[in-house]
Symmetry: C2
Subunit: 358 residues, 2 copies
DNA sequence: GTGAAAGCGCTAACAG
DNA sequence: CTGTTAGCGCTTTCAC
C-alpha cells in the first residue's frame, strides 16, 4: 500500500482537500454527515497524515526534546534518569507529542545537537536537565524565546521556567526526623556540590541543625558524588567521628555508606541510623530497608511535559516555577520503628510534612 | 534573530537557492570558491536548515524510533533498557540521526503511536524491542517494507532483521563452568518464559546438562520473571532440593536468590554457588561479588543502529541477523576463586569461550 | 558548475 | 459549511 495523501482521501470521499484536513484536525466547521463519511474513508483506507508536511505547513512538529547533558548521561545507569524519562515519555503519549531523546555525551555531540534542536522546525519545545554545563545553552534558548523547561533548579538566575522538588525542605524534614528520634551527632553525605540538588540538600541539613540550636560541624559533612562508591568512602571518613545518624543525599550513596558500616562490624540502625534520598525500588527490598525521601519522579516528568506544553501554547512569559513536594518514607534504617513500636506514637513523631510508614 | 531560510542565505551570498542547498548537502558540483563563500555566510549568519522542510522534500527525516513495548517498559527500572537506550542514543549522535523514544505502556498508547510511526514521514526506521505483544506489529512492518531491526530474537519466524546476544551459548558456557568446578546438583532460575531471552537461556542450561551426560531434572528448574522478588521466591522453592549451584538468568534475580539463601542461614559460595546474567554495575560491588555473563549492551545498541541505517540506505532485503558474543566474568559467587587460588589453573578451567577474572 | 522551476503533503486564510 | 489558493522551506530534476 503506497502512502496516501490528503488528496487521495479527498477524491475518494468526493470532497476537497480542505474538508479532509478539517476532519483530520477536528475542526468544528464541517457538516456532520460529511465528517462521518470522510472519517469512514480515512479508516477504511488507513490514512494517516504525513508529519513532515504537517510540521512544515503549521510550524508545529508536535515533538518535544528531552536533553540530558554530558555530566548526567553517564548517570544513565542511575535509576533517576530512566524514571524521569519514563514519566516524560508517558506524558508525551498522553498529549500526542513525540519525544526526541538527546544524550549529550561529548563536546562533539553538543555541537551537532544544539543547533539542530534550538531552531524551530524539529522541536516545539525542550526539556533540559539542569547541569553545570547547561547554563550557556539555557541563556541562548531564553534569548531566542524558545519554549524550554529546565528539570531541576538551574545554577544561575536565568529568567527561565523550571521544575524542581523542594530539596531544601525535604532534607530539612529528614534531619528533623533524626533529631526527634534523639540522635545528637548527625552527619551528612552530600551529593555533588556542582549540582543544585546536592547544594540544596546540604542546605536543608544545615538549616535543620541550626534550627535545633546546634552548631553545624563541618567535619560531619562528607562530600559524595551520588555514586555508591562515593557513599562508601565518605562513610569511611565519617566513621572515626562516630556519628549516630547520617542523612545521605541519595539512596545509592546510602547503600554504599551502609556497606562501609557493616564492613566495620557495626549495625544499622542499632549503631548508626540512615536516611537516604530518592526511594529507589531497592530501598524497600534491601537487606536493611531504607528510610528515605521519596521523589515523585514519574509525576515530575509528567508535570514537566505539561508545563512545557503550556509554554508552547501560551507563550514563554511569564516564566513558570513548579516546586513539587516530597514524602518521607519511614522504614528500618532510621531506627524509628524500633523506638516506637506503637505506630500511634510514630505518627506523633511525624507531625511535620507528609510521612509514610512501610 | 528570525529563522533564516535558504533564500536568505542565497541572497546574501549572491547565488541561487540551489547552490546553497548543494553546499549544505556537500554536493561536489560546486565551485570551490563559491563553496567557501557560501559557507562563510552560513557560519556568520548561523543558518541551519529547517528539518521539517528537508524531510518533506527529501522524504527522509534522519530520525529513527526506539520502540519499547508495554511489557518491557515497566522494566525501565531495570538497568538493561536504560543502557540499551544509551547505546542507541550515542550511536544516533554519531550518525547524525535524531532519536525518537516510544514507550508503549497501554493499548491506548499503541493505537496512537503505531500508525504515526509506521508510515513514512516521521521516522526513517524503527528499532523494536522484542516482546510477546510485538509480533503483529512486526508483521505489518515487514509487510510494508518499512526498515526495522528487532532487538532480541522475535518469537515467530518473521523474515525480519534482528540483533541478539547468543543467549543459548552464553548460558551453556556458564553452566559448563559450574560443572567443571565440580558441582553436581545444578539448578536454574529462568527468566520469563514468554521472552526469547528467558527461553534461550534455559535451553543453554539444558544443553549443558545433557552434554555432561546427565538427565535434566525439571524439579531443579524454577521460573522467574527477571525481578528481584521472583529470584527470591524461586530460590525459596529450590532450597529444599539442596542444589549446590544455581545458574540464574539475570543478575537482579540472582541478588534475590542470594538474599533467600542468606536468610536461610547459608553462605555463598560455600554452601551454594551462583552465576548471574547481565553484569550490572552492582554485580562487582555487592556484598557477594557476582560471577555473571556480561552482555555488551551499549555496543549492542550501537550495532543495532548501524544495522538499521544499513537497511535504510541499502534496502531491507536480505534481512540481516546479528548475533553478539558474551563474556563470562568470574568473581566470587561461583566459588572458582576459592577452589583455584592459582590463576593459572583457573585459566585452564576456562578453556572455553571468553572469560575474565576480576 | 549554476539557476529556474516544479513539487514534497499539508495548513490556513480567503472567498463564496 | 466548503472549495480555491497560496504558501511552509527545502530538494531535485532539467536546462543552460
Amino acid at each position: 500500500m503506497p502512502n496516501l495523501t490528503l488528496e487521495d482521501i479527498a477524491k475518494q470521499a468526493g470532497v476537497s482537500r480542505s474538508t479532509v484536513s478539517r476532519v483530520v484536525n477536528n475542526n468544528p466547521n464541517v457538516n456532520e454527515n460529511v465528517r462521518k463519511h470522510v472519517q469512514d474513508v480515512i479508516i477504511t483506507t488507513g490514512y494517516h497524515p504525513n508529519p513532515a508536511a504537517r510540521s512544515l505547513a503549521s510550524q508545529r512538529s508536535w515533538m518535544i526534546g528531552l536533553v540530558l547533558p554530558r555530566s548526567v548521561s553517564n548517570f544513565f545507569i542511575d535509576p533517576y534518569f530512566p524514571r524521569l524519562t519514563q514519566g516524560v515519555a508517558l506524558a508525551c503519549n498522553q498529549y500526542n507529542y513525540t519525544l526526541g531523546l538527546f544524550l549529550v555525551e561529548t563536546k562533539e555531540d553538543e555541537k551537532r545537537i544544539f543547533p539542530r534542536i534550538s531552531r524551530k522546525g524539529l522541536l516545539d519545545g525542550i526539556l533540559l536537565q539542569t547541569a553545570p554545563m547547561s547554563d550557556n545553552f539555557i541563556d541562548s534558548l531564553v534569548e531566542s524565546d524558545f519554549p524550554v523547561v529546565v528539570a531541576g533548579r538551574p545554577f544561575n538566575n536565568h529568567d527561565v521556567s523550571y521544575i524542581d522538588v523542594d530539596n531544601i525542605n525535604a532534607a530539612n524534614q529528614a534531619v528533623h526526623h533524626l533529631i526527634r528520634l534523639g540522635y545528637t551527632r548527625i552527619a551528612t553525605i552530600t551529593g555533588r556540590m556542582n549540582s543544585t540538588a546536592g547544594i540544596d540538600r546540604l542546605e536543608g541539613y544545615r538549616k535543620a541543625i541550626r534550627e535545633q540550636g546546634w552548631d553545624v560541624d563541618d567535619g560531619l559533612i562528607a562530600e559524595g558524588d551520588f555514586s555508591e562508591k562515593s557513599g562508601y568512602s565518605a562513610m569511611q571518613h565519617l566513621l572515626p567521628l562516630k556519628p549516630d545518624a547520617v542523612f545521605v543525599a541519595s539512596d545509592t550513596m546510602a547503600f554504599g555508606a551502609i556497606r562501609a558500616v557493616q564492613e566495620a562490624g557495626l549495625h544499622v540502625p542499632n549503631d548508626i541510623s540512615f536516611i537516604g534520598f530518592d526511594d529507589l525500588p531497592i530501598a524497600a527490598q534491601s537487606d536493611v530497608k531504607l528510610t528515605t525521601v521519596r521523589q515523585p519522579i514519574v509525576q515530575f516528568g509528567a508535570r514537566a511535559v505539561e508545563t512545557l506544553i503550556d509554554l508552547i501554547d501560551n507563550g514563554t512569559k511569564p516564566t513558570r516555577r513548579i516546586i513539587m513536594d516530597t514524602e518521607l518514607v519511614i522504614r528500618d534504617s532510621c531506627g524509628a520503628l524500633q523506638k516506637y513500636v506503637d505506630k500511634t506514637k510514630l505518627e506523633n513523631v511525624n507531625n511535620y510534612g507528609s510521612a509514610l510508614i512501610y
